[in-house]
Every structure is written in C-alpha cells, then in structure tokens.
C-alpha cells in the first residue's frame, strides 16, 4: 500500500488535494447559498456555522496544504538534485493526514470546535495533525540534508522556513484555552495562528512555488537573486507580528495595536520586492501566457497576490479598518490570497508537475482553458460583489441604518457572490476530470509499452 515508486508521494498528495477542493468548495457554495435561502439543509449537522467552519478548514488544510505538500515532494528533490528521502514515509503521511482531516471534518459537523479561526479543529484533532505535519517536514528536511547541489535556490529557503513555521505556529494558536489567563489573550494567540497560517505557510510556500515555476515555464533565469533574499527576510521579520491587527480598534491596549499594525503596513516592502522580481523575470515572456495555461495561472496568481497585498496594508490602517471590518469586504479579502493567489499557483504547479511524473501530457488542453476561465471570471464576480457589498454595508452602519435593513440591502451582492462562487466550483471539475484522464491514460500507455517490449523481445 505504501509504495516507494519514484514521485508517488507527489502524485498521491495532488490526487488527494483535488478530491478535497471539490468537497471543501461545495461546503463554501453551501455557505453562500444559505445566505440566500437560510432554511436550505438546515439541521443540527449542516447548520450555517458548521458548514462555514468546515469550508475554511478544508480549503486551507485539506486542499491547499495537500497541494503544497505535493509540490514540495517534487520541487525540493529537484532543487536539491537528489530523490525524496522516503517515498514510503511520504505516502504513509498522506494516508495519516487524510484520516486526521476526515476526523476534523466530522468533528466540525458535529459541533465540536475550538472557535479559533483557521484553527477550528478540536484539540484531539490538532495534536494528530501536528504529528502528520511533523512527518512531512522530517521527510523533506532529510531530503534537503542529502542534497547534491550545494547552493540553496530561493524556493528552498521559502519551503524550509514554511515547514519550520507551520508546526510552531500551530502549537501557539491551538494552545489549550483554559491554560491561558484571559479571553483577549487567547484572542491574540488565536489570531497569531489565524494570520500566520496565511503569512508563514500559505504565502511563503506559494511564493516559493512561483519562484520555481516562473523560470521553468518561461525558460528565463530569475530576475534578481538579491531581491529574492530581501523579500524572504522581510517576510520572515514582519509577517509574524501581524496577528493583533485583527483586534484593532478593539479591546487591546494601544501598544499591542501598534505592535501589530505597523509591521502590517511595512509588509509593503517584501511584497514589492517579491513582485518586482516576478515581473522582472516575466519581461519579454508575457506573450507566452497566450499559449501556456500553467504560465497564465501563475501570472494571474501574481496579479491576485498584488491585489491581496495592496488590500492588506490598506486594511491595517485604523481609519480604513473602521469602515470595512466585520463586513463582506473581509470575506472577499480572505479569498484573495488563498484562492486568487495561491490556489492559482497550485493549479499551475499541478499542470507543470503531473505530466513530468506520469510521463504524459495533460489529457485535455481545452479542459485546462475552461478551468482557467471559469476560475478567473468566477472569482472576479465573487470578489467584486463582496468588496462593493462591504463598502456599502460599512458606510450604512456608520450612518446608523438599522442592522436588519443593511442585511436586506446586501441581497443582490450576496446573490452575485453565489453566482461567481458557482463558477469557481464548476471550474474545479475540469481539473479533477483532466487529472483522472491523464493518470488513467498514462497507466494504460505504460502497460501497452511493456507489452510491446515483451512481444518484440
């Protein structure tokens, strides 16, 4: 069952990831639909709060994290010019990780939650998940340890850092609440996880993926090694301080607020360093996005990354936050990084890596095109609905419009979000079908080849 076939870990993590994007996004679509028809599937298990929690946890820790691990099981050995330390362990960790995710999913539907956003699984699931992440990190650190290439390419820096930060951050965020002296203190620790699951895992692995993919897909060297170092250390220095901005203008002392808000704004530095480097690398290659879908996914990802990172520091300004906090805007922004930027780069990674490891082109280019356009157009409809909704809602509250009336005002935007969301969801079936066909045909072709060889021998 736990094969040590070359690249099997990478392939199997990808397959599991795509399975979970369908489940995770169907939970998201149900969340959006429940805001239009509140009584839809309304029972003890599928109540709005459960479905929303399950959506968030599944898309982050099941889909995106598994896609990331799949990428790293290919990219890290490639960059280290060696093979994976143990494919067997990689496959074992995958099965274990999936069992844990399944436990977490059911726990949330049964109403067991730790409340901490991005850390909602109950403690007994957290502990297991930590072990699973630890197994992956151990395997990949060992792989780097056996490297033949002495220079550490920038993607490796990002991957190494992320594999260290995620488990540590997971521990701080999920620290048992009853051992901490205050509700607000627990809030700070919860948001430490909430923000750094994004900053020190989603962002850093995603950026590492882009640094790997862009030169491969364009055939050009990275624009500036120096700039990539500045970007890495600036992210490592400032991102980790961002948690408190989630409690800004609220029940935290002024000094904590400043300690959170200032680094949030300073983040503009690494973001520009990273993006200048991406787009510098793209120089002269933009036309290739017309023909290469993986490159187009990567570039669209960098553009959405820019959007997300313009919004982030802006929202960290207390005056801006006072309008848009708690509104639909936040939900729009929260999808920008995980879906717009980093799911897109993970799609690109799958399309780039899968053909290399199964030894066959992707089955359908048309399905790839459809995946891209449905994802992109759907996401734009989704995101713009929520941003406009958030601004309208924010100013209506300031003007003192009664709350219930502001809910009614949101109806058309909420519908727009559901329509965009449906397109985003449908898009993923093109990915799943294309992957299934590709892997199946690759197996068939290998078998035929073997038969031919046997016949001619």
């Amino acid at each position: 069952m736990f094969t040590d076939e070359k690249w099997s870990s990478s392939k199997n993590w990808f397959i599991a990831a795509v399975f979970w994007i369908i489940i995770g996004m169907s939970m998201g679509l149900l969340t959006a639909t429940k805001q239009i028809w509140p009584e839809l599937l309304n029972n003890r298990w599928f109540t709005y709060g459960h479905v929303r929690s399950a959506h968030v946890m599944l898309v982050i820790y099941a889909w995106l994290s598994m896609a990331y691990v799949g990428s790293m099981f290919y990219m890290i050995p490639k960059l280290a010019k060696t093979k994976v330390y143990s494919e067997k362990l990689g496959n074992f960790a995958l099965v274990f990780y999936n069992v844990v995710i399944l436990e977490g999913f059911f726990a949330l539907l049964f109403g067991q939650t730790e409340v901490i956003e991005y850390g909602e699984f109950p403690l007994w699931v957290d502990v297991q998940l930590l072990v699973a992440i630890g197994l992956v990190a151990y395997n990949l650190f060992k792989t780097v340890g056996r490297r033949q290439e002495k220079m550490l390419y920038v993607s490796l820096w990002y991957f190494l850092g992320s594999l260290l930060w995620l488990p540590l951050t997971w521990i701080v965020g999920n620290f048992p609440a009853q051992w901490i002296p205050s509700g607000v203190q627990q809030g700070l620790m919860g948001w430490f996880l909430g923000h750094n699951a994004i900053g020190l895992w989603m962002t850093t692995v995603g950026v590492g993926q882009i640094y790997y993919l862009l030169p491969k897909l364009t055939g050009r060297p990275l624009y500036s090694h120096q700039l990539s170092m500045i970007g890495f250390w600036a992210i490592a220095t400032f991102y980790v301080w961002n948690g408190p901005h989630h409690l800004m203008n609220g029940p935290i002392p002024g000094w904590i607020s400043k300690a959170g808000v200032i680094p949030s704004i300073v983040l503009l530095i690494p973001v520009w360093a990273v993006l200048a480097n991406f787009w510098g690398t793209m120089k002269g290659s933009w036309s290739q996005t017309r023909t290469s879908v993986p490159l187009r996914f990567t570039v669209a990802g960098t553009i959405f990354y820019l959007f997300a990172c313009l919004q982030g520091p802006l929202q960290a300004l207390p005056s801006v936050s006072s309008v848009i906090k708690f509104t639909h805007w936040t939900v729009g922004h929260a999808h920008m990084g995980p879906f717009g930027a980093f799911s897109f780069t993970s799609f690109a990674a799958i399309y780039y890596i899968l053909p290399k490891i199964v030894g066959r082109e992707m089955f359908s280019k048309r399905a790839m095109e459809a995946h891209f356009w449905f994802s992109t157009v759907g996401f734009l409809v989704f995101a713009f609905s929520l941003w406009i909704a958030g601004v309208v809602q924010g100013f209506a509250w300031i003007e003192g419009v009664p709350f219930l009336q502001t809910v009614l005002m949101m109806e058309p935007y909420v519908q727009g979000r559901a329509i965009g969301g449906t397109m985003m969801y449908v898009a993923q079936f093109f990915l799943a079908w294309n992957m299934y066909k590709t892997i199946k045909l690759a197996k068939l072709e290998k078998k035929q080849q073997a038969q031919q060889q046997a016949a001619s021998a």
Binding site: V115, I116, L160, V172, Q178, A236, G250, I256, G400, F403
Partner: protein, 178 residues
C-alpha cells in the same frame, strides 16, 4: 548562508520567536486585559449553570461565525446603538473567546439589554416572525432544555448598571456636543 539550510532555519526561528514574544508573551503582563471589569465578572458563570450550558450550545451551533461580541469606539458601532464600548477585562472569563470577525448578524455583546426572554426564544425558533427578512436560520431543532439554556446565556449578556449609566451619560454628552 546560501549553502547552509541549518543557518536559514536558525535565523527563521529567531525571527519567529521575536514575533511571539511581542504579540503573545508580552501581553500576558498587561493588566488592562488580564484583570476583570465588573461587567466581566458577570460572565464568570458557575459550572453547569444554565448560562454556562447555554454558552456551550452557542458555540456548538456556530453562532460566533455570524455574530461578533466586540463593540468599538467608532461611529459604525455607536451609531448602531450596540451599547458600551468593550474593554479587555470584559472578556476575562471568556474561554474560548467569542470576539468574532464577521457581522452577518448583529453584535451580541450586550444583547441581554435589548429584548426579553420570550422574544429571544421566539427569535430562535422562528426568526422571520420577529425579524422579517432576516437570513438567520431557524434553530427549532434544539430541544426545550437547550433553548432554555441558550436564552439564559443570551439574557446574561449585559453590562452592570453602573457601566450602563456611564455609557448613557457619554452618549448624551456626545449628542449635545454635536
């Protein structure tokens, strides 16, 4: 360092530790969030009281995903008449915290001030009957016991008389000022 993964990891760990020290460890020593206010004491529910059980039901049903308990000194909150601005000490006994991040529904920090028990119960069973057009789902699948406990919790969410007077005075002063 470009050849030494261990060096990268050590520096990455040190930078991470600075962030933890600043935003997680240092706040432990701040009295503003670590000593309860009088209104915070009201939330120190005895174990297995109706309020404590109701709080569990609130969490189990994910109420915190739509409702915040977080009142800011900002027009968006004061103009919505949410009640006194909250302080760190109000949450001293809130474990886990229910501050929330999204107002799909209104803030509930002081909801016990606003309606009576009958209204709360009716609202949970049939939200449309009390708030036409609302997108809150019905919680009619809860047992009578569960509804009683949840209503007891919601009704307990209020500030002390003193805090309320203070707030009313501030509000009228602000109005006169305009």
């Amino acid at each position: 360092m470009e050849r030494k993964p261990s060096a990268v990891l050590i520096v990455a760990l040190i930078l991470w530790t600075f962030g933890v020290a600043g935003t997680v460890i240092l706040p432990l020593f701040d009295q503003e969030i670590n000593s309860a206010t009088a209104s915070g004491e009201l939330r120190n529910y005895p174990e297995d009281s109706a309020e404590a059980r109701g709080r569990e039901i609130y969490i189990q049903n994910g109420c915190q995903t739509c409702h915040t308990q977080f009142v800011r000194a900002l027009p968006a909150d004061t103009n919505q008449n949410l009640g006194p601005v909250t302080k760190g000490g109000d949450y001293k006994y809130d474990l886990p915290h229910l501050l929330g991040s999204n107002r799909t529904g209104p803030d509930l920090m002081w909801v016990g001030l606003k309606y009576n028990e009958d209204w709360q119960r009716q609202h949970l069973i049939d939200p449309q009957s009390t708030s036409p057009g609302t997108i809150m789902p019905s919680f009619d699948y809860l047992s009578n016991q569960e509804l009683d406990d949840l209503v007891a919790y919601l009704m307990s969410l209020k500030p002390t008389e003193e805090r309320l007077e203070e707030y009313k005075k501030e509000m009228s002063e602000a109005k006169n000022h305009n």
